[in-house]
């Protein structure tokens, strides 16, 4: 079977899996987030935390709760990384240097999982498990909680109460993230991913002598790494490493895991707002961008011209040769369109347009389908912007799901679409102005610039994938990167929660013939146009100096 056929089948299998999951998982998430009853285990947790599960919070309190758990998360993770040499199963690894520990803590709490270190020679097993893996769970749950709060902004009327963060967080962890991670960890382990707390796996090698291989609890971390769109691998090579992603089946499962929650959340949204069509509209836009980007990248990887390490007509340098090129671009597209950032191939080695597409995927704001929760809230904010412009064109004060888009709502939506490009471009601009920092690139010319642009695009959008080639472990890169990740995660969350608060206070407007239909192909088309024109075009000048300059040459 040819690569292309295998790739097509893998895409078909993936779409089938996602389609089958859409309804049950989406409905289940809606159920667990709206159910009145608490599980016994949850009640025990609330008692321990001292939380009244029936007390709803205002958006401000909800936001402070998000900040509180994140601040504690950064601090704890930083401490763990700094004292890891005293912990069990440290494998003799020294403590992490301060700026790198700060960068890593910020990275994992923000769901970015940018790694300026090599996991297998930096971290002991316990630091991986109680440090990184915990944040993989929590950061994913925080994203979903914020997205659900925005939905509540649409569904609740004349109230300033948006739900209880601690209840949302607990339920998402207890009823969604934990059970699903356990199940899929077992699936991965059964498929060949190692799960071991033993010091090293020693392989006897006749030529080079014995090798001590790092194994870690890879299976259990791998599942949540993908399910929570985290992307931080045990190994530096991430999902290109045979321990993390041993075969074609695990490759499929991993891609499925990193897409499934984000692709099912539109169902949750549709269910909660009482119109599945609204969910399908959002899903359609997400799926269109995902499929379009996949086709684009695959085409350019298969038809690469020029001198490189091409085998036949395709560009195989840096690709996962075990799995084939289409499986690599499928992974690349999915990981950059979510906030995962796990890789099974080196994005640096893609053709200029193929790799550029990965960059554009993130620049669009990671909304197709995006990170767990963050993808949905990003897309909904863009829908608000679309509704505003389109709504004016039908001659009414724009309204979305019965809520008017007035100056207050517009302010938060506008700040949202402003924030991430501002972070990405400002940091990339500063980096390019600092001769010492540009020296960290391995390449010159447009490809070198792409490394920097990609890095800040990835960090600002909380993706975490790297273009490779950039030596990012310096004080400046660690610090600037951490700031980009923290701003890129939490500033948009402020705007989203404030928007939710503003929407929930409103009295809903009844729908009529004169109302803009937001569950229609026409609206989906406009939303797609907004994503490409309003968000995408911002980056065009910068892209023209990177992937475009590299790809267009005569």
């Amino acid at each position: 079977m040819s690569d292309t056929w295998a790739g097509t089948l893998q895409v078909a299998a993936l779409i089938l899996l996602l389609a089958v999951s859409y309804r049950p998982l989406g409905d289940y998430m809606a159920h667990l987030l709206t159910a009145k009853k608490h599980l016994r285990a949850e009640k025990a947790l609330y008692r321990t935390m001292g939380v009244d599960p029936e007390a709803d919070q205002t958006w401000g309190v909800y936001l402070r709760s998000v900040f509180a758990i994140s601040a504690v998360g950064v601090l704890l993770l930083y401490l763990i990384l700094r004292v890891q040499h005293h912990l069990m199963m440290a494998l003799g690894m020294p403590k992490m240097q301060a700026d790198l520990a700060y960068n890593t803590a910020a990275s994992f709490v923000t769901n970015t999982d940018w790694q300026n270190y090599y996991g297998e020679n930096t971290l002991g097993y316990l630091a991986q498990m109680i440090g990184l893996t915990v944040q993989n769970f929590v950061s994913a749950a925080v994203g979903i909680a914020v997205a659900v709060t925005l939905i509540r902004g649409f569904t609740r009327n004349r109230t300033d109460r948006l739900g209880n963060f601690w209840v949302d967080l607990t339920r998402i962890l207890v009823r969604l993230m934990l059970p699903f991670s356990v199940v899929f960890a077992l699936v991965l382990i059964a498929s060949g991913v190692p799960q071991s707390l033993g010091e090293h796996l020693t392989v006897v090698h006749t030529v080079n002598g014995d090798q001590n291989l790092y194994t870690a609890a890879t299976g259990s971390q791998e599942a949540v790494k993908l399910l929570g769109t985290n992307g931080g691998g045990i190994f530096d090579a991430n999902s290109a490493h045979p321990f993390e992603n041993p075969n074609g089946f695990t490759n499929l499962i991993e891609i499925y895991l990193l897409l499934v929650i984000a692709f099912s959340l539109p169902r949750t949204f549709g269910k909660m707002v009482g119109s599945h069509k609204q969910g399908y509209t959002i899903l359609a836009v997400m799926a269109t961008i995902w499929l379009g980007s996949l086709a684009f990248s695959t085409y350019f990887e298969l038809h690469r011209h020029g001198v490189d390490l091409a085998t036949g007509h395709a560009a195989l340098e840096g690709k996962e040769v075990r799995l084939g090129l289409p499986a690599s671009t499928l992974f690349m597209t999915s990981t950059t369109l979510t906030s995962t950032g796990a890789v099974n191939s080196m994005h640096d080695s893609y053709s200029p347009f193929g790799g550029g597409a990965g960059m554009v995927n993130m620049m669009l704001g990671e909304i197709a389908p995006g990170g767990t929760g963050s993808g949905l809230y990003g897309m909904l904010v863009l829908a608000v912007i679309t509704v505003f412009v389109a709504g004016l064109m039908v001659g009414r004060t724009p309204e979305y799901l019965g809520k008017k888009i007035r100056p207050a709502e517009m302010k938060y939506a506008a700040l949202y679409i402003l924030t991430t490009p501002a972070i990405v471009l400002t940091f990339a601009g500063i980096a390019m102005a600092l001769p010492g920092e540009t020296a960290r690139m391995t390449n010159s010319g447009p490809h070198g610039f792409s490394e920097v642009l990609y890095a800040f695009t990835s960090m600002g959008n909380n993706n975490g994938s790297a273009f490779a080639g950039l030596g990012g472990n310096t004080t400046w890169w660690n610090t600037a990167g951490a700031l980009a990740m923290l701003f890129g995660r939490f500033l948009p969350m402020i705007w989203v929660l404030a928007l939710a608060g503003s929407l929930a206070r409103q009295q809903p407007v009844p729908e009529s013939e004169g109302t803009l239909k937001t569950a229609s192909p026409l609206f989906a088309g406009m939303l797609l146009g907004t994503v490409l024109l309003v968000v995408g075009l911002t980056y065009f000048p910068a892209l023209s100096l990177g992937p475009l300059a590299e790809g267009l040459h005569r």
Partner: protein
């Protein structure tokens, strides 16, 4: 004396209305005003254009420091961009100023004949004071040929008044004491008779003063929607500002550092200047379109709310049906002579100056030869006027006989209250007439010593206006529910509602019912519009989201509403809704156009900037522009010219046809979205063909 009720002249529909066509000469006339607006303190209110102005200052500095044809060309066109934006606003304001000037002429300082005191029948001493010194509650006398010195209510007398100064309508109107036609406006002229007016406005706050400041846009405040759009435009401007500023270090690293002139040009091309330049003109022009239709909106907010209306409360009479219901038939009870009924009906209608009342008198005369008696002939007769609460009118004769006519339920109640026992017969006649779409007026009498009894029913026929049914169908397509308000009984109302095609009706409506209906609709999140003229409409007018007071109405009604229709045409409400929608659509269409324009500008400027270091980017020059400098110049020239090109559209508003939201969106999206993508490609290419010949540019 018999005075036929004069109604304000009506122009139904917008067709008769003459559009102010856009006159290019207005552009020249507004140039001085546009230049004055370059003051940074004024510009700062418009963030998008303020950025362009700062950019222009920077390029001017560069052009002086390192002169080149290119730098000067860009500089000049950037300044022109700012001036064009100001021009749009100045032209829009200019039209208002012309109207204000006409109004000022009417506001000539007049001498008022002030009365020291006044009570019915007792007038105090008269003294002459300047009109500007009149205070609230003063009484003045105005006689034929004199100008009414201030707004007020007629408390004594009746006069015909020429209100053309404010309404533009030359036919005189009648103003009389009491009732809903008592309000007079300062600056209008009494043509006949003598009236005493109680002043109801403070000096400087008269209706004409308010009109002047409204059409001039003196206290114009940004409306909520305008604010929201400004927020979006400001954020896009900031994003592009960051994109351009951060591009320089990236370009420098690539060895393609750009001059300040090029960077400013890129920025100006990308930020949404088209909509930024035209936004305030669109708002002013929207208000202006209302003024041209003789509607004064007290705030831009009200105009915007008009576009959002979910429910229209329309008075049946004058809006849905022709004002005059005509008496067509007398239907007597069994045992009552038709002539007796006609006589009683005529008696009770003598003081009833409504067209319906007049038509009863006319019918009585034509069918039964009953001579028309004048009020004065019946000595000691006491006329009971119609009120919205009692819903009947009549007469109490000197001999103790009482006659009443009015709505069925009201008259039957009166009969019962006066010891009578109405038979079921009246009810069935009433129902039959109502079911046929007519209006039954029950006539009853009470002899001096006996119990009250019904005599029969007068059948009034209502005539539904031509084309109104189609109008309501359009409104339905726009998602607007129409509710007919009528004092008729439910059956009558139902028949007319069905004939006219309204969605709902409120029968036997009292002002309280109207108010309750508005509140109920609003509780469901709906926006309600209504018209009204009477004092008892005032609370409902104030409660409604859009309350249009008729100019013929009372001062209280005009105070309470947020719009005044100088033509006093209730049908205007539909046009007001359309103008509100058109205003929002124009904004949305030009925003879409502005954003879509960016694509072509990228394809012009980006290859121009970087082809020198990355020759491959030449592929992006899909328009085949002559040279980098001509490309950038063309983009900037296009950017400036499109503002001038769209001024007429901004002032006129985009074409609006009532239709469903989806149809509207599809049409505007194709026109302004797809058009906005394609047009600049053509425009920039055409400009480039000319610009490349500028000597020394390249």
């Amino acid at each position: 004396m018999t005075v036929s009720t004069s109604e304000a002249p009506r122009r139904v529909g917008g067709k008769a209305f003459k559009r102010h066509s856009f006159d290019p000469r207005m552009l020249w006339k507004s140039v001085p005003d546009a230049t004055k607006k370059l003051d940074p303190r004024v510009m700062a209110k418009n963030p998008v254009m303020f950025v362009v102005e700062i950019g222009s200052v920077l390029t001017t500095w560069q052009a002086i420091a390192r002169p080149s044809v290119f730098a000067w060309t860009i500089t000049v066109w950037l300044w022109l961009t700012v001036v064009f934006a100001n021009l749009a606003e100045a032209v829009a304001e200019g039209r208002g100023k012309a109207q204000a000037a006409t109004l000022r002429k009417a506001k000539t300082t007049s001498v008022a004949r002030k009365l020291a005191s006044w009570s019915p029948g007792n007038a105090g001493a008269e003294s002459e004071v300047p009109g500007t010194e009149l205070r609230l509650g003063d009484f003045v006398v105005v006689e034929a040929g004199q100008i009414i010195p201030g707004d007020g209510d007629v408390v004594e007398g009746i006069a015909s008044v020429d209100e053309s100064a404010i309404t533009g309508e030359s036919a005189p109107v009648i103003r009389e004491s009491g009732g809903d036609r008592s309000a007079v406006t300062g600056g209008t002229k009494v043509l006949s008779d003598r009236i005493v007016v109680k002043i109801t406005s403070k000096p400087g706050e008269t209706f004409i003063d308010r009109m002047i400041s409204l059409v001039e846009g003196a206290n114009r405040q940004k409306t909520p929607n305008e604010l929201a759009l400004n927020v979006l435009l400001a954020s896009l401007t900031i994003v592009f500002l960051l994109a351009v500023v951060t591009l320089q270090p990236m370009a420098t690293w690539a060895g393609a550092a750009q001059t300040l002139v090029v960077m400013v040009a890129l920025l100006v091309a990308l930020i949404p200047t088209t909509i930024g330049a035209l936004l305030s003109a669109i708002g002013i022009a929207g208000m202006d379109r209302l003024v041209q239709r003789n509607v004064l909106a007290m705030s831009g907010r009200a105009v915007e709310a008009a576009g959002d209306i979910n429910t229209l409360l329309l008075d049946k009479t004058g809006t849905i049906t022709l004002g005059n219901r005509q008496a067509a038939e007398f239907v007597p009870d069994t045992g009552v002579e038709e002539r007796t009924l006609a006589d009683a009906a005529q008696l009770s209608s003598l003081a009833d100056e409504t067209p319906e009342g007049r038509s009863i008198v006319v019918l009585a005369k034509s069918m039964h030869g009953l001579r028309e008696r004048h009020e004065g002939e019946l000595s000691g007769a006491e006329f009971v006027p119609f009120t919205a609460q009692t819903r009947m009118s009549g007469v109490n004769l000197a001999d103790g006989r009482q006659v009443r006519k009015g709505a069925g339920s009201a008259v039957l109640k009166w009969v019962r209250d006066n010891g009578g026992q109405p038979t079921g017969e009246v009810g069935s006649v009433v129902d039959a007439i109502s079911a046929a779409g007519g209006t039954p007026l029950v006539v009853a009498e009470k002899s001096p010593d006996g119990a009250a009894r019904t005599l029969g029913v007068v059948h009034l026929k209502d005539v539904v206006k031509d084309g109104i049914r189609e109008r309501f169908a359009e409104l339905r397509a726009m998602g607007i529910k129409t509710v007919m308000i009528t004092g008729d009984n439910p059956l009558t109302a139902k028949a007319i509602a069905a004939e006219a095609g309204v969605d709902d009706f409120l029968a036997e409506a009292t002002p309280e019912d109207k108010m309750a209906l508005i509140k109920k609709e609003q509780e469901g999140g709906k926006l309600v519009a209504m018209t009204g003229d009477g004092t008892n409409d005032a609370p409902a007018l104030a409660q409604a989201d859009v309350g249009v007071a008729m100019n013929t109405g009372t001062s209280a009604a005009k105070e309470a509403g947020n719009m005044v229709d100088l033509d006093s045409d209730p049908t205007k409400l539909i046009e007001i809704v359309e103008i509100g929608k058109q205003l929002l659509i124009t904004r949305g269409a030009l925003t879409t156009f502005s954003i879509a324009n960016d694509v072509a500008k990228y394809f012009a400027i980006i290859p121009a900037m970087f082809t020198a270091v990355y020759p491959g980017l030449h592929v992006l020059n899909i328009m085949g522009l002559h040279s980098p400098k001509s490309a950038i110049t063309s983009a900037i020239v296009f950017n400036a010219l499109i503002i001038i090109g769209l001024i007429p559209l901004a002032l006129r508003g985009v074409r609006y046809r009532p239709s469903s939201a989806s149809a509207l969106l599809r049409r505007n999206l194709v026109l302004y979205g797809a058009g906005g993508l394609a047009l600049p490609f053509i425009g920039i290419k055409l400009i480039d063909v000319i610009v490349q010949f500028i000597p020394g540019l390249n």
